[in-house]
């Protein structure tokens, strides 16, 4: 570590006119409470970048879930509502029905969306509610410190599956994107990840696409993110990214699951 000396900035380059990236203005300055390396931060950032680029800060209402992202409204500088555990899709449905000309999204984890709230999720999708669901699937209950989620992989160790998830007694991980893609009223369902620079670029395009569809009144869109949970997976952030690439995306295949016109 001896040669690790900070190199000063190059004043020729570090000038306002040469900025190619800075934090979106719709992201607040509050430091994120998430653990180091958590995918939530990346997705928050992408979502707010898209809000900035579409210039819809005054036209979008977000719904935060219960789970690690319960405080999403602390970081997103837009009007937001905090829903009861699992009920974000019901809350989002009503906001959109009251204000069809506004943009609405829910931001939910796997426990919230796929366990306690699966009825609300499926029925909102089945009604074709014209809103965006941002689904963070990291295969574990993060906030309550690492219990089994409906999306926990087979044989994966969690605090409530200390010997690994036994699919014979604990069921199989739910592929929510494939499940919702079956419903005729869903319009655009895609699964993305943010575990490297290439995937982050694609993920942002998916979010933008979903909000553009909402603008056109196309109906229910979901962007699922195969996320990580370094703390509860008992991994370093880099190990968790490797796990996403080697294990998670094997079961949860990244890519569009349902696109307009069928595929």
């Amino acid at each position: 570590m001896s040669n690790l000396v900070e190199v000063p900035v190059n004043p020729e380059v570090v000038q306002d006119q040469f900025v190619v990236y800075k934090k979106p203005k719709t992201l607040t300055d509050k430091p994120l409470h998430y653990c180091p390396g958590c995918a939530h931060g990346v997705v928050h950032k992408l979502l707010m970048e898209v809000v900035d680029e579409m210039d819809i800060q005054d036209k979008i209402i977000g719904v935060a879930p219960v789970g690690c992202s319960v405080f999403a409204y602390d970081y997103m500088n837009i009007d937001m509502q905090e829903a009861a555990h699992g009920r974000a899709c019901a809350v989002g449905t009503a906001i959109k029905r009251m204000m069809p000309d506004k943009f609405v999204f829910t931001y939910q984890g796997d426990g919230d969306l796929a366990a306690i709230g699966i009825a609300e999720t499926i029925h909102a999708a089945n009604r074709g509610e014209n809103m965006l669901v941002v689904f963070i699937n990291n295969a574990v209950y993060g906030m309550t410190s690492g219990q089994m989620a409906p999306t926990t992989l087979p044989d994966m160790v969690t605090t409530t599956t200390p010997f690994g998830r036994d699919v014979k007694t604990m069921g199989y991980p739910l592929r929510m994107s494939e499940l919702l893609a079956q419903l005729p009223a869903t319009y655009y369902i895609t699964r993305q990840s943010v575990h490297n620079a290439v995937s982050v670029r694609k993920a942002k395009k998916a979010l933008r696409q979903a909000l553009e569809y909402q603008k056109e009144g196309k109906g229910f869109c979901m962007v699922e993110f195969v996320g990580n949970c370094p703390s509860n997976w008992r991994m370093t952030p880099l190990e968790s990214q490797k796990f996403v690439e080697e294990k998670m995306t094997q079961y949860y295949v990244v890519g569009d699951v349902k696109v307009p016109g069928g595929k």
Binding site: Q81, R97, M98
Partner: protein, 355 residues
């Protein structure tokens, strides 16, 4: 003079919801109040553009109500006892987030799946909390179809004034009976919404957050103190009740909603027999009109409370009068309804020793 119609209680309530300028209804069918969503499905959207949405469950209905109320719209859900039990978590969140809205409970007999017949056994649930946390609803109890209409309007007005959710606590009898009713004229739906509503962040103002989460205990206590201050103000200013024949009364019959209606008839029968009986009928059961009972108690020989339950409001009556007068109870449960003659007989037995 408004339009006069002969209407079933549930339909009159639904008609009032349209006329009060409701923006949204979110509900799930359950006997004995399914006529409300049926009536609205047929009438509402065409007339006012009101959104009527049949949810997948009562759990979803109440959370839709939360979301819609958070946009500053005038919104409502209706259900009956088991459905209202399912909604309790959401009601607690709505109270915590200080969202105005209306919840209607057309009560049926319990516990459990119980019966579809009228009952009043959700008094404790409605007035003493229901869900978790220190909160109250403003609870209005109609005793006829007219009040099914009037309390819709009053409920919204009070709820919006205080940002406290309101409940119309009716019962299967009020929902199913037909009576003459005077309807108020159509109120236009609002086009402007409160400052706190999440309608999209204004450019020049702070963002709005609808939440019941206050993780710092110092903040959570302050939220609670503010709520309690509102409840004290509501108790001081919004208590509503009706009295009859108290001037010369030696005894008082009391009850809420259906119970008070039966008490009223029993009072008439008693008067015909020469007994000096008066009546106190709370219209709000939260806030409860403790004062009128306290003031009346020293002047009378006893109170007979009539409810279609095992004796719930009677606890508040006893709390009000202490040992200043004797309090007796007459009730039927499980969907059975007391008849005025039996009430009178019970009165004669316990207070006059007549077998």
């Amino acid at each position: 003079m408004g339009e006069i119609r002969l209407m079933k209680g549930n339909e009159a309530l639904a008609e009032a919801l349209i006329r009060v300028g409701c923006d949204g209804y979110f509900g799930y069918p359950i006997t004995p109040q399914s006529e409300v969503i049926e009536y609205l499905s047929k009438e509402a959207t065409n007339r006012t553009g009101m959104v009527v949405l049949q949810a997948e469950s009562e759990v979803s209905s109440i959370n839709m109500l939360y979301g819609a109320a958070g946009t500053g719209r005038r919104v409502v859900t209706t259900s009956s006892s088991p459905g209202i039990s399912l909604m309790q978590e959401g009601i607690s969140y709505i109270a915590g987030a200080e969202l105005p809205c209306l919840v209607v409970n057309v009560m049926r007999g319990g516990p459990g799946l119980g019966t579809i017949q009228p009952s009043q056994s959700d008094y404790f649930q409605a007035t003493k909390g229901g869900g978790h946390g220190d909160y109250h609803l403003i609870v209005l109890t109609p005793y006829n179809v007219q009040e099914m209409v009037d309390f819709v309007k009053l409920g919204f007005e009070l709820s919006e004034k205080y940002r406290v959710p309101a409940m119309v606590l009716a019962d299967g009898a009020m929902g199913q009976m037909m009576e003459k009713v005077e309807l108020f004229d159509q109120i236009p739906r609002r086009t402007e919404f409160p400052e706190w509503a999440t309608t999209g962040k204004p450019h020049d103002k702070e963002r709005r957050i609808v939440t019941s989460l206050f993780i710092e205990p110092e903040v959570m206590e302050q939220v609670n103190l503010r709520l309690q201050a509102k409840y004290r103000q509501i108790e001081a200013e919004e208590t509503r009740f009706q009295t009859m024949n108290l001037e010369d009364a030696e005894y008082v019959f009391t009850g809420f909603g259906l119970g008070s209606r039966i008490a009223m008839k029993a009072m008439e029968l008693a008067r015909e027999k020469g007994y000096k009986v008066g009546l106190i009928r709370p219209q709000t059961v939260y806030p409860f009109p403790y004062a009128i009972y306290r003031e009346t108690a020293p002047k009378i020989k006893g109170i007979l409370d009539i409810e279609m339950n095992s004796g719930q409001m009677v606890e508040d009556v006893r709390l009000a009068v202490g040992d200043k007068t004797r309090v007796e109870f007459y009730g039927r449960m499980g969907g059975m309804i007391a008849d005025p003659e039996s009430v009178l007989k019970h009165f004669e037995k316990v207070y006059l020793g007549v077998e």
